[in-house]
Symmetry: C2
Subunit: 702 residues, 2 copies
């Protein structure tokens, strides 16, 4: 509670600070702020009540904990506030510099939640029809089976009352009690199988697909609307920035009276937006914007800047190898060149793939045999040798560039495995003591090393790259799931904490009924689910994951209804509806959409133009290397280096567009809906804001 | 075997007949025919071998049964053959009359199978990566858990060997053993939950979504290609038909040398394609095609004909009510008019919705109480009264028109319920004997009656209509699933028939181990799954449905591996891969696509033009009635009738486009990909066939 009080203070102080900075009327108009104040007040009230009741020895409920995720979601965007306003320069390039803001995780999360909220009414219609269908089928089941004197496998009456029938059939939708619920009727008469097959077909297959379709469709619709608003805001703000920075054509005297932005102010702008951008990258962007070399750009090209900055351009610096600088005679000698050539040869990669496969077999064998245990040192040495050889051939900073995922992966895994193995060996030789934890880590690292083989198979690499690319989007949903899980975990802990206990000692007789006599002989206790309880947040989260997976959902929930009341089913059904029907479907929808994008769309026109420019300026990496993975690309750039050594210093830099990859999820989303946005905005004149002279930049066409 | 021999003869005779009709070289070039001959020969060989072995008392396998579905799929398209060729007129309108052919179910099925076959290579890549992931995780599980001395809830060793670890983790992907497989490790240490959560996230959620995405994407791609070929073939054939039917402009002397088709030959064509088309409908279509009343149409309009015929136009004949004809004085009297007005009033529908709700409550109550049992008669009378009243008001042929789904539904259900209730009552009063079967039917009919309430709630109606509309597409997949099920059922019966037996008598001690000592004490027998066996086709199908639902999949399969051999797992894993990963995903993909179509597309331009024409000619039903359901529309047409009575006989007919509904799945598919087809074909000049003068009709623009 002390920790919570401190947190409350921090949030309150932040809000007060924010209220001081922001104009008063604006502050009170923002529902987020009012929501924050309400949550803080309610939390405080709850804490006081709880403290008082607790002190007086009464039972008290900490209900305000459910509100905590809202606090997280509603916190005002720290970055934008902290970045733009405190500097006290409300106009000028720095204000625009905040734009296009890379929305922080919280904004993305809030947007995801808003999209879901907007999707709900549509889902509700289908959901009601779905519930109606369950009610009708339950009524039929009640009429058909209740009077036959059938019993379930446990000897309980079969479909004996309506509420239980509805619940049983709801569980059947999740498929958790799939053949069991049908068996008594099926045993009584084969024709009854038709009832259950029709039920599963209608409710599990068709309705669940319809849910996915509705969620997918609505989620996409509202997301598109959000993205459209964002894009329009961006264009509008870029146009306003243009109005601030433009030099009136009368001053310059050139052009046909068209306002232009000079290179100097453009440079200043870019540098203030991205202080870490390289000069060469800036030059490249400028050359794309100022296509006809006028020394200034018009509004159309200026507005593109935000999108240009969102295209991830990898700057490859082809530096000479440090050994080459230190002792060129040795590094350029014939044996050294032979080493370099052999390491770069395909056979080297193939040889190591074979090593990995042999290693996989050895891992599978019993590690307690001394021969196997010692072979591990040999494999470690081989892997270390590989990394060292590669470092000998490839310039270290290139080898460890930010985009060389597999190089980083390899090195970290091998070094960690080395350290862990050494520690383990040291522990073992001294005092004969083996730490199970360290051994576990060693095992995991050993197996993880095998994953590397995926990268050397072409057909797997493309799938892996797609998966890695949609990773950030999945993380956004991870946050969303965490927030929902947290709410359910807190509610679950209030309802069920301490009711089901787990006893570490396998011999403890209390283990048989999870420390609760009500569970004696229940399926929950019999299957050994005692550790699935709400006694702490971690256990609650693990339990919620199991409920999300759905299987044995009815047995897990039956355990908690047994120790409390039948109405506890509401909690579990609610969790199923919220997480499995809504959130998992949105997750699937997003993965689908991201995959369709990867399959159907190629690079945007802006991308293409940037690439063309890179090619024109002969700064590019060979096309075939681009198709290759990043390690390959870096190697190629390294290979080309000696030939370019003699050329101008400018040519030491090479660019490569991380094809189809975007800096932010926003840019991805914009690309996702670009075609639609364009079409709709072409005839929508209302985007043109107060500046009047702002023509919509046509996104696709450069 | 006798039945099979007869079937073989039929197929063989058919093939010989076909070979006689078709040119010899064409017959032998068709892989379908060769496939058929091979299957017939193999089946015959199999039957002889089986007969011989069986007669000699040896064990024999009827392996050729697996080939039977291929026979079904490969049968030559009976309709096209029977319809076009035997008439012996290879040219002229009748030949074209076969086009656009409504492809028979078998063709659609074959197309669906072809699409799946084309999708497989892409799925394979993802599948291999998925298997690789399972292998890696299994290796990790083996290393982490095998040496800890853990046991499962059954006391079996936990992850003790690699093959079992792989199988257990594969089962976890299906979520069938969800918390159970994790519990021993979780009990040993909370941190191990992370391993299983990561596993489920990667393999169940991400990989399964990727499967859906890949299947969806590829299936759509290949389906689109198929549809494109179909559409092109249609256009080409329509153009050829035009070339046959056109009158050279020199003869007519009118026009600018453009070839035209006269109304007379057009009429002949339409009547030979659709003999049952009404004259008014023909006139309507002609007026759409011949927009500027030239009395002849050019190629562009002519080619549209196939699509025009595919738009479902409902002809509403506003006939006077038979009672009105028989005794107009009575039917038009004030009380009769009052009855008509009150039945058409909204309150009438609302009153009956209330009746249905009350009935639902009564059904839920115990039907053995005499009050409740007698109330059933009252409800039946009320429902009958409703139908009779509606028949009094609405012209019977309108009431029972093909598209009045709910009228048909109501009447059939009520009449069946009446008949069944009367039979039941008769049986009960005589001899005190109650037939359980008839009572079951009565119960089902009673509950089904309640579904009608869905139609009176607007938000449900739209969803229901969409579901009814995608019904035919679902049926195509139903066939596909049946074929796959049949193959697996036959294989399963060969492998497992008679191994697991079900004993009807609950007291039979053999019931405890399903008549097989190997199952004693197994989870399969304990859960009472004995009736889930492969002893006959029906039982096999029910079991396969349960395996499709996936839950308890591992227990069902463990039963059959226990009575045979561990390698029987291959059968169950294969079934899961084929049905759950491939076919169910395609099913979901199709439902998704159909729903997206319903949501995103409005009527086609051709639709719109047809509608405009109907409006122009004042033949339409009021727009608001069109939005209403079909009963409403018919009622409206009936209401308007007295006013139109005096007008020309032509006005007695009214048209209504069954909005967005298509006659065939093909037309739906064409519409599905229309936008893409157009775009691609606009610049694809290769569609223009030998006729040279054939310009592609732009599909969207009339």
């Amino acid at each position: 509670m002390l920790a919570e009080l401190v947190c409350l203070h921090v949030f309150a102080l932040r809000l007060i600070h924010y209220a001081k900075v922001i104009p008063r009327d604006k502050f009170w108009k923002d529902p987020k702020n009012i929501c924050m104040i309400a949550i803080l007040a309610l939390t405080l009230v709850d804490m006081i009540i709880y403290g008082a009741l607790h002190a007086a020895g009464f039972y008290a409920l900490r209900w305000s904990r459910v509100l905590r995720p809202l606090l997280l979601v509603n916190v005002t965007e720290g970055r934008q506030v902290g970045h733009v306003i405190p500097r006290g320069r409300p106009t000028g390039p720095e204000r625009i510099a905040g734009l296009p803001p890379t929305p922080c995780a919280r904004v993305k999360l809030r947007r995801a939640i808003r999209s879901i909220r907007n999707t709900l009414p549509q889902i509700l219609s289908v959901f009601l029809l779905f519930i109606f269908s369950i009610l009708i089928f339950s009524l039929m089941a009640l009429k058909l089976f209740s009077k036959r004197g059938l019993t379930t496998a446990d000897g309980a009456p079969y479909f004996s009352n309506y509420a239980d029938a509805v619940f049983d059939l709801y569980v059947l939708v999740t498929t958790a009690n799939s053949p069991d619920v049908m068996m008594p009727a099926y045993d009584a008469g084969s024709a009854f199988a038709v009832f259950f097959i029709v039920y599963v077909l209608v409710n599990t297959y068709i309705f669940m697909s319809v849910f996915l379709a509705v969620v997918f469709n609505n989620y996409k619709k509202y997301l598109k609307e959000e993205v459209r608003q964002l894009v329009r805001a961006k264009w509008r703000k870029m146009a306003r920035a243009f109005a601030v920075l433009r030099e009136s054509p009368e001053d310059g005297g050139e052009g046909r009276g068209e306002p232009l932005v000079s290179r100097a102010s453009w440079n200043r702008l870019v540098r203030s937006v991205q202080p870490d951008i390289s000069r060469a990258h800036t030059e490249l962007l400028w050359s794309v914007s100022d296509d006809d070399n006028r020394g200034a750009i018009d509004e159309r090209s200026f507005v593109q800047l935000a999108d240009l900055l969102n295209i991830e351009v990898i700057t490859l610096k082809s530096r000479p190898h440090p050994l080459d600088r230190l002792c060129p005679a040795l590094y350029r000698s014939a044996p050294s060149r032979l080493v370099c050539r052999s390491v770069r040869h395909r056979a080297f990669a193939v040889a190591y793939d074979v090593v990995i496969l042999i290693n996989a077999v050895f891992i599978g064998l019993d590690e307690e045999e001394p021969m196997i245990a010692n072979s591990e040192w040999a494999f470690l040495a081989l892997y270390l040798l590989e990394i060292l050889l590669k470092l000998y051939v490839i310039e270290p900073r290139t080898f460890f560039s930010a985009h060389s995922f597999w190089n980083w992966f390899d090195t970290i895994i091998v070094v960690c495995a080395l350290v862990a193995t050494v520690i383990n060996a040291a522990l073992e030789s001294s005092g004969r003591y083996t730490s199970r934890q360290i051994l576990d880590i060693v095992f995991i690292l050993r197996v993880l090393r095998l994953i590397r083989v995926v990268d050397s198979i072409e057909r797997f690499r493309t799938i892996m790259n797609t998966l890695i690319r949609i990773g950030p989007a999945i993380l956004t949903f991870g946050q969303l799931v965490l927030v929902v899980y947290y709410v359910f975990a807190v509610v679950g802990m209030e309802l069920f904490a301490g009711k089901v206990k787990f006893y570490e000692d396998a011999g403890d007789p209390a283990r048989a009924d999870c420390g609760n006599a009500l569970l004696r002989g229940s399926a929950f206790a019999r299957l050994g689910y005692c550790k699935n309880n709400f006694n702490n947040v971690v256990a609650a989260f693990v339990l919620l994951v199991q409920l999300t997976v759905v299987n044995q959902w009815h047995i897990l929930s039956s355990g908690f209804t047994a120790v409390t009341h039948k109405s506890a089913r509401i909690y579990f059904v609610l969790f199923h509806v919220v997480v499995v029907i809504v959130i998992i479907n949105i997750f699937v929808a997003f993965v689908l959409e991201a995959f369709f994008l990867e399959y159907s769309l190629d690079k945007s026109d802006l991308h293409t133009e940037l690439e063309k420019k890179i090619e024109q300026l002969q700064l590019g990496v060979a096309q075939d290397a681009m198709e290759d993975n990043l390690v390959g690309a870096t190697e190629t750039s390294d290979l080309e280096q000696p030939a370019e050594q003699s050329e101008s210093s400018k040519h030491k830099l090479m660019f490569k567009i991380a094809s189809k990859r975007y800096r932010t999820v926003d840019a991805l989303l914009q690309r996702l809906f670009e075609a639609d946005l364009e079409r709709e905005d072409d005839d929508a004149a209302d985007v043109r804001d107060g500046n009047g002279n702002f023509a919509n930049p046509s996104f696709g066409a450069a």
